[in-house]
Symmetry: C2
Subunit: 392 residues, 2 copies
Amino acid sequence: MRHRFSARMGRVPESFLGELFRVSAVPGVISFAGGLPGSAYIDVEGLRDAAREVFSEEGRTALQYTTTDGYRPLREFIADRYHRRLGLPATPEEIQIVNGSQQCLDLVAKIFLDPGDAVGMERPGYLGAIEAFSLYEPVFHAVPLEDDGPDIAAFASLVRSHAPKFFYGIPNSQNPSGVTYSEGKRRAVAEILDGTDTVFYEDDAFGDLFFDGKPRLPVKRYLPEQTVISGSFSKIVAPGMRIGWLYAPAPILREFNVAKQAADLHSNFLCQVILHRYLATHDIDAHVARVAAIYGEHCRQVCDLLDDLMPLGTTHTTPEGGMFMTVSLPARVSSMEVFSEGIKEGVAVLPGVPFYVDGGGEDTIRLNFSAAGEEEIAEGIRRLARVVRRLA
Amino acid sequence: MRHRFSARMGRVPESFLGELFRVSAVPGVISFAGGLPGSAYIDVEGLRDAAREVFSEEGRTALQYTTTDGYRPLREFIADRYHRRLGLPATPEEIQIVNGSQQCLDLVAKIFLDPGDAVGMERPGYLGAIEAFSLYEPVFHAVPLEDDGPDIAAFASLVRSHAPKFFYGIPNSQNPSGVTYSEGKRRAVAEILDGTDTVFYEDDAFGDLFFDGKPRLPVKRYLPEQTVISGSFSKIVAPGMRIGWLYAPAPILREFNVAKQAADLHSNFLCQVILHRYLATHDIDAHVARVAAIYGEHCRQVCDLLDDLMPLGTTHTTPEGGMFMTVSLPARVSSMEVFSEGIKEGVAVLPGVPFYVDGGGEDTIRLNFSAAGEEEIAEGIRRLARVVRRLA
């Protein structure tokens, strides 16, 4: 038979993520390519105890269907934490549970985008978002990301000229760059959007992971009715449970809930209940602070090794948090070659190319510093430096 | 701000499912309205033991990210079971794990449908499918469902005249009617589709739940390269884990996998591993046979009570399996009134209306017979009969 797939399937960029997960799993390869939190810092015992309690006290309920919005006590916990940490007046009614914040990318695009609609992105932008949005056939407009956030003049011009349905940004420890917006740029972004019909889509996967343990105020503080925030337990508890959320104003959350119901009725209820039990009986803030401090050490280690070992002309961002940094390669060194040669040398990195909706990234690679341990980092960056020196 | 939602959001029919779950939860209301498997028949202890083993032996792995396709041993189990039960030559490479078979509805539509494309449906058709597909803005064409499957002349005419991207059917114990396709109609459907570019989307949520314990051969047996089958553990193990799958030919599964990755990277890995451990250490076939036999008793009880208590002019389908039947009301009794008056009387049913893409269903209601126990069924049908007699 002739397969008649939808037009949108022709719009998906060639995917690196699947390839990545495969490469990362090859024995002997040290991977800086994926986005895995450090396995060593997942509290398996704490989650095991929470699971045991849930099975013995409310297993039959947790194994049934539930409502689309998600487990209310979990939504209450999330809302309370926004209040406590960031001074945001969140209510459980403004929270929808999803399958990791990746599902927000799909469903926010689904409720807003018709083919040809304008979407604003950071340049470079998160490739998972580019993939998810592409399936809704938008026109991407990218705003250069500087050391302290988006180029404000370009951002203002984009909003004025193209009135995007939404601008997608990661103000805290951006993926792939590690850049964090300054407070001034957060305010500027909010001021430019205020009064327009453009939504700010604030992906906050990494806001808990500042190495100094201090949260930064989200853009939503300055633009509450026009901002949606996505969050996730993947980086701070465990990705395998696939639990994230969208925090959004009521009119948006209503449509989002309709899309979520059509997509899969509701997220895994058993894990929602286990996760809530875990959060209610453990100090998540202390856990996250410990993990963030360790990632900070890893990040400094990577930066130092890059400074010591990489050939002249190599530069890199210096993240304040999160799990990623971007390395700019010396002239004439191709990121795709570093990727393929790196695999042969036993080190996996991610070329910058898929993070650019309008070309670019041939001279940058993304490095993850959360997954590998200290010794692996030392050996892995040595391998990487060998590859880059050879190609330079 | 002015909210600029996508055109597709205007295409969603008013949803009953959310309302249903809420109504079903009101204390004192006996619900035949939902689609819940009987909570009493979820093997909480078996799943608890499986979870304990997974946490102690491979918790750290199960709590990490994994590949999009899903846990390979689970896919092997599913493929083996197709082989063993139905003689289908399934391989793990043809199976993609999803969040319950509802996610297949979303993603199959996503990979096939452009706005205005034709989709074939049963009449009445599953409302969850109608909701999910509607978001991709197709034109629905409904084929009347007879006691033994679709009206074959109408089916052939639809395929010839409109060349739908796919025809969505539930050959085993259909939702909402409880109708099972005869073997002759399965063959006829396959023959009509053979050589066309129309995919048969075979939703097999209920194929395990034939009261006589005997499986029926799927349409895919007669049309292997053109049929996708969706399956689910929701009805046979536990819905709260949200684990289902798509079994599809390689060219289709490849696109489906791309859409799945963009949608949420992968399904809950912890529950995939727990579920596989449970299946590997328990006799799922024996469990399912027990549950199906109990549902059979419930179904007969409901049929007998309807025959005894409902006013003249009431008829109903007589399912061979599954969880649902359809009741046709006496002349001039409105299903919407039965719904709203029923709630007041403490009994919830689902009006037929949302199962019709082209109008209809005002004179039918869907009854679920898996969720309520024997005493509840007796009292609930008495209440329902009182309501219908009053309205007749």
